[in-house]
């Protein structure tokens, strides 16, 4: 088509910009908040050619419909309503929001970040059993009675026995006419995966750091969800001691006190021992911390646990270090010293929200 040339031209322009655009909107925490019914909004990039025009907010406009003075005008109002609300400052950032399912979103993410599909380690021994209604049978519970088929049987019998009269077409079903739905149990092998999130909640991890972890884990979840049918998530928080918590607590707990990372790794190993035999599960431990461990001894212990207990059993081990004003950030250096060449360990430093995209790419870019 003729448009192809113009279109690819536009895509190329945006490519330079799209990274920023994507970065910007991923960084918006609210995106997760709007995950209602598994839909999120993604913007379609628009570049606005600047013209002499009026400022947005001064302008206002006219509308039609119910409401009293002082009531808000519904949603995106006027031509530039959206632009005014969100992108007032950035020249020419028009967004048209489209609701997409998480699955589509993951596809978009994958496409934009050029993420490879995850290599399944062949650990698909788990069998998922599903019941499907596939046919009919003569016995069964009344709740599964198939009305139409039962009626048809009764009609056939009535006509065959000559009792049917068109004037008075009453059909009385006999017990032998009754038909019931029957099912078959289908067994599907499923590639199962578990993400074990670990987060340092010691005093040095502030709200901003947690927000970064939250956003990052949302995208990791979204991506891996697409790769594996049955994805489980477990959450471990730790300061000097570690404990398993639910998702909500994970993101909202703030403890104070010291940091012993080894406690989390121990618990992680424990979880795997108890619930996730590595021959059946793809295991993804993600650990986020500001990199300020209690002591060198503990760090050495961590390395030991990783080497002995975790690494042999997981697909990969991801460590994300967020920058905090208090942390020394030493831990990632120690890990780098010990595992620098180990493919199974992925290390990423996340300086601020803008670095999230890059870090996701580091974590998921290897297709492990």
């Amino acid at each position: 088509m003729k448009i192809d040339q113009d279109h690819s031209r536009f895509r190329n322009i945006v490519r330079g910009r799209i990274r920023q655009n994507l970065r910007k909107y991923i960084s918006q925490g609210e995106l997760i908040g709007r995950k209602g019914k598994d839909l999120v909004s993604i913007p379609i990039p628009q570049i606005d050619i600047p013209h002499f025009r009026y400022g947005d907010k001064q302008q206002g406009g006219t509308g039609q419909g119910d409401g009293d003075p002082g009531d808000p005008v519904g949603g995106e109002e006027g031509e530039e309503g959206e632009g005014g609300k969100k992108a007032g400052e950035d020249a020419g950032e028009h967004v048209l929001e489209v609701d997409v399912t998480l699955d589509e979103l993951a596809a978009i993410l994958g496409e934009e970040l050029e993420l490879p599909d995850v290599e399944n380690k062949g650990k698909s021994k788990l069998i998922n059993e599903k019941d499907r209604y596939t046919g009919l049978r003569r016995v069964g519970p009344e709740s599964l009675r198939h009305f139409r088929r039962t009626y048809r049987e009764a009609l056939k019998r009535t006509i065959a026995t000559g009792l049917y009269s068109p004037e008075l077409p009453v059909i009385v079903p006999h017990p032998e006419d009754k038909r019931y739905r029957s099912w078959r149990t289908v067994a599907e092998p499923v590639a199962n995966a578990v993400i074990i999130y670990m987060m340092d909640v010691s005093g040095s991890m502030g709200d901003e750091q947690k927000e970064i972890v939250r956003i990052e884990s949302f995208w990791v979840d979204t991506w891996l969800q697409r790769q594996y049918k049955g994805l489980e998530s477990r959450y471990i928080i730790h300061d000097a001691v570690a404990r398993e918590v639910d998702r909500d607590t994970f993101f909202h707990t703030r403890e104070s006190g010291g940091t012993m990372i080894s406690s989390a790794y121990k618990l992680c190993g424990q979880l795997i021992d108890d619930h996730y035999p590595p021959e059946e599960w793809n295991i993804y431990p993600f650990h986020f911390s500001d990199g300020d461990n209690w002591s060198m001894d503990d760090t050495l212990q961590c390395v030991e646990i990783l080497k002995q207990k975790l690494l042999p059993r997981v697909n990969m081990f991801a460590y994300g270090q967020v920058e905090s004003p208090y942390g020394s950030g030493q831990f990632i250096k120690d890990l780098r010293d010990h595992f620098g060449k180990d493919e199974r360990v992925v290390l990423s430093e996340i300086r601020d929200k803008d670095a999230i995209v890059g870090s996701i790419k580091e974590f998921l870019g290897k297709g492990k």
Binding site: H7, R11, H51, K57, Q64, D66, G70, E77
Partner: protein, 522 residues
């Protein structure tokens, strides 16, 4: 083009409906150009829609962006384009393949009314290619009016021209320049086609201005110094010089057609001149459509509704039709829908002129009851709406026919940004305020008025523009970008005189940095 048309011509059953609907339209008094319908798949539709209805435009990423938006919207099920028609003689209209027959019929009826509007509304006379921009009385026209509006060819020629330029100078360079030109595309005079050619001063006129001797009174030589004293002559000479200096101001009068001015006077390379001219011509083409959005859509909706319900529809199609029509006329989330506003206003006008609800007696009547039952049975409605469609544009249409009763029935309101609540809020339903706001939005297509004030500002060849401030400030970040574009074209510093936060302000861009200074009121 022919290959294109072959693949997309209408199947026989639609063609027969097209003829029927055209006849029905003529029966109602609609008067349209010959109209060619084509049927397109959705991606062809998106492509053509991205090009603004034309099969061939000059290459630019903007159309690619529009295409992406349209196709994404379509794929995600947000919207689809039902119809498209372009102001051309003959007119071209596009149907979407796979729509139901009811929809196709509706679109055809709608399209014929649009084409009637293109042909008969005075604004569109500015797109006649054969009058060369000299239509000074758009209301008068020959009986067998069939102007040259072969804009499809013209746009395609523009495409070929720009492609040739691109081949020579490289896409990046040309595209960058096109971007600058597009930044200026709204700086045209929408009435230029009706004001005749801009007056260019001839050489003689310029020469005749040269003589600047101060006239002396006749005197004997010995009386000379008394009758024509030297001081007085000196004074007069200075005066004349000052007059001349004033006349040197260029342009002599503020120039609304900034693009036209730049074309004539900016130091452009030949290809740049070409590109700027193309951008201006295309901008001028789209002006009437912006000036008559409400009327045009209202008129088309009014007629498709009448034609469909009175003549075209089969009883079995009524529900489908009503469903679709309701969608088109819906006012979503308090937004103003031009289709809805237009059709209601046309219906209102027809009713008022049928019942004689106009003129001095009607205006002066204070008796609400009498007004409600006012019916002189004049039956002038039909005649009036046809007259309105020919002689009005959106601004005059709203200004003259929007009544307080109508505004109340249609629940019109004005809204404004609330700083406190960080949202748009309904401001008022008071008729005068609402109407004023609506008219403001429509005036100059909602764009600020910008004039070339002085092309030799402070005798340094700098370009001074003036924003005619009408209570609304310019968006500054955009204004700065536009001034960069102007600098690229004018190649000397560019200034814009405007008002910001109630202070007269002069923005300046000298090619490196933007400065602004507050002017003192003189």
């Amino acid at each position: 083009m022919s290959e294109f048309a072959l693949k997309t011509s209408l199947p026989a059953y639609l063609r027969s409906w097209q003829d029927k609907i055209a006849d029905i339209g003529r029966g109602y008094g609609l008067d349209f150009f010959p109209t060619v319908f084509e049927i397109l798949s959705y991606d062809q539709m998106n492509e053509i829609a991205a090009y603004g209805g034309f099969p061939n435009r000059f290459p630019h990423w903007r159309y690619g962006m529009e295409y992406e938006r349209l196709s994404k919207s379509y794929e995600y099920g947000l919207s689809k384009i039902y119809e498209m028609v372009i102001n051309n003689n003959p007119s071209y209209a596009y149907l979407l393949e796979g729509n139901s027959l009811t929809d196709q019929k509706l679109v055809m009826a709608h399209v014929y009314a649009h084409v009637d509007f293109f042909k008969n509304n005075y604004c569109f006379r500015s797109t006649d290619l054969d009058t060369g921009g000299k239509t000074t009385n758009p209301a008068v026209r020959p009986a067998d009016y069939s102007p040259n509006r072969r804009w499809i060819d013209k746009m395609a020629n523009h495409g070929a021209r720009v492609r040739r330029i691109v081949a020579r100078y490289g896409i990046n360079r040309v595209e960058e320049f096109v971007d600058f030109c597009l930044s200026l595309e709204n700086l045209i005079d929408p009435h230029a086609a009706f004001t005749g050619r801009r007056k260019v001063m001839s050489q003689e006129e310029r020469d005749s201005e040269k003589a600047t001797e101060v006239p002396r009174l006749r005197s004997k030589e010995y009386m000379e110094s008394f009758i024509n004293p030297e001081e007085y002559l000196e004074e007069q000479r200075a005066k004349i010089e000052a007059e001349k200096e004033k006349a040197k101001k260029f342009p002599e009068r503020s120039e609304r057609d900034v693009l036209g001015f730049l074309l004539e006077h900016a130091p452009l390379e030949r290809w740049e001149h070409d590109v700027l001219e193309i951008v201006r011509e295309e901008a001028v083409y789209f002006v009437p459509q912006m000036q008559t959005k409400i009327m045009n859509e209202g008129w088309a909706s009014y007629w498709h509704s009448r034609m469909m319900t009175e003549k075209v529809l089969d009883a079995s199609e009524i529900i489908d039709y009503a469903d679709n029509a309701a969608g088109v006329l819906a006012t979503a989330k308090g937004q103003l829908n031009p289709y809805k506003l237009g059709i209601e206003l046309f219906r209102n006008i027809e009713e008022r002129w049928d019942k004689g609800q106009f003129g001095k007696e009607w205006e002066d009547c204070d008796d609400l009851d009498a007004k409600r039952n006012w019916n002189l049975r004049l039956g002038l409605g039909r005649k009036k709406v046809f007259e309105v469609r020919a002689l009005y544009n959106d601004v005059t249409f709203i200004d003259e026919f929007l009544t307080p009763d109508f505004a109340r029935e249609q629940k019109l309101f004005s809204y404004a940004w609330s700083n406190r609540n960080e949202r748009y809020e309904i401001e008022t339903r008071e008729f005068k305020a609402v109407k004023e706001k609506l008219l403001f939005q429509l005036t100059n297509a909602g764009s600020p008025f910008i004039y070339v004030e002085d092309a030799n500002y402070e005798n340094r060849g700098e370009l001074l523009l003036r924003h005619d401030h009408q209570g609304m400030d310019l968006r500054v970040d955009y204004a700065k970008e536009v001034m960069r574009a102007l600098y690229r074209i004018w190649k000397r510093p560019v200034l814009t005189q405007t008002v910001m936060e109630s202070k007269a302000t002069l923005l300046r861009y000298d090619g490196r940095e933007h400065t602004s200074k507050t002017l003192r009121k003189e």
